[in-house]
Symmetry: C2
Subunit: 158 residues, 2 copies
C-alpha cells in the first residue's frame, strides 16, 4: 500500500529502479536463452531495437543510443559475428554502410518483444494493470523526452 511517508530516504528509489530493471532483463534473457538465443546480452536487445526494421548506419546508431559512433561500430561488429546483424554497402553513398538485421536478428527481436510483453503481464498480475500503467506514466513524466532518442525513427519502428 502506498503510504505518503516524508521520511523515506532518497537512495531507495534508484536502488529499486535498478533492481526492477535488472529483474526484468534477467528474466527475459533467461527465457530467451532457452529459445535459441543464448548469446543475446541485455544491451543487444536495445541495439536491435535501435537498428529497427529499416536498418541504419553506425553513426546514426550511435546517436540513437547516446554513445560514440566507434562504440556503436564495435557493438555492431559483435552482433555481426553472432549473426544478428549484417553490413551492406549503400549504393547511394560509398562512405556509408547500412546495418540491417538478419533473419536471426528479427527472430530474436520478435521473441524478446513477446517475452517482454509476458513479463509486463506478470507484473500486472501481481500489482494490477492500473499500478503498472501508473508506474509507466510516472516514469515517462520524470524522464527527459530525448533520453534514449525515443524521438528519432528506429525505436519500436515496424
Amino acid at each position: 500500500m502506498a503510504t505518503a511517508d516524508p521520511e523515506r530516504p532518497g537512495f531507495l528509489l534508484p536502488l529499486l529502479l535498478l533492481a526492477g530493471f535488472r529483474t526484468l532483463i534477467d528474466d527475459l534473457h533467461a527465457e530467451l536463452a532457452g529459445q535459441g538465443h543464448p548469446d543475446l546480452r541485455p544491451v543487444h536487445g536495445f541495439v536491435l531495437q535501435a537498428v529497427g526494421v529499416d536498418g541504419t548506419t553506425a553513426s546514426e546508431l550511435g546517436q540513437r543510443l547516446g554513445v560514440s559512433k566507434q562504440a556503436a561500430g564495435k557493438t555492431v561488429d559483435r552482433l555481426v559475428a553472432l549473426g544478428y546483424l549484417e553490413r551492406v554497402d549503400d549504393p547511394a553513398d560509398a562512405r556509408r554502410k547500412l546495418v540491417r538485421m538478419t533473419e536471426k536478428g528479427v527472430d530474436g527481436l520478435r521473441r524478446s518483444a513477446v517475452l517482454f510483453d509476458a513479463l509486463r503481464k506478470r507484473w500486472a498480475a501481481t500489482l494490477g494493470e492500473e499500478r503498472v500503467a501508473a508506474m509507466e506514466d510516472d516514469l515517462r513524466a520524470v524522464t527527459p523526452p530525448n533520453f534514449f532518442r525515443l524521438d528519432v525513427p528506429g525505436w519500436f519502428g515496424g
Copy 2:
C-alpha cells in the same frame, strides 16, 4: 494519468525503468562533481554504501554486490587510489584486509545521501508524494528480496 490500457507493449517498462534510473544517477553525479567529488562514478556510490561505516573485506563486499571477489577487489583498488577507501590489516586474521572508508569516502557518501533525498523530493514535487511512494512499494513488490543483498549488514547501515 494512469490509464489501464491492455495494449501497452512490455518493452516500454524496462526502457523507462532504465531511463528513470539513469536520469536520477546522472543528475546526482552532476551535482556531486560540483561538490568536490568529480571522480565518483555511479557504481562507486553503491560500493561505498556496501562497505558501510563498519568496513568489510573484499570477499564479503563481492558477496554483497553480487560479483566475484576479484571484481570487488579491483574496484576497491580504484577507490583506494582515489582516496575514498583504505585497506588495513586485520589483527585477528592475517589473511584478511579490512576495507574502510576514509574521511573523503564518508563525505562523498553523506553528500550523495543528501542529494538523493533532494532528487526524490524533486520527483515527489512533480508526481506527488503518494505516486513516488507507490512506485517504490510496487518496485519492491516485484523485486527479489535478496537482489542487492539488502538483507546483509552494510547496506544503509549507520
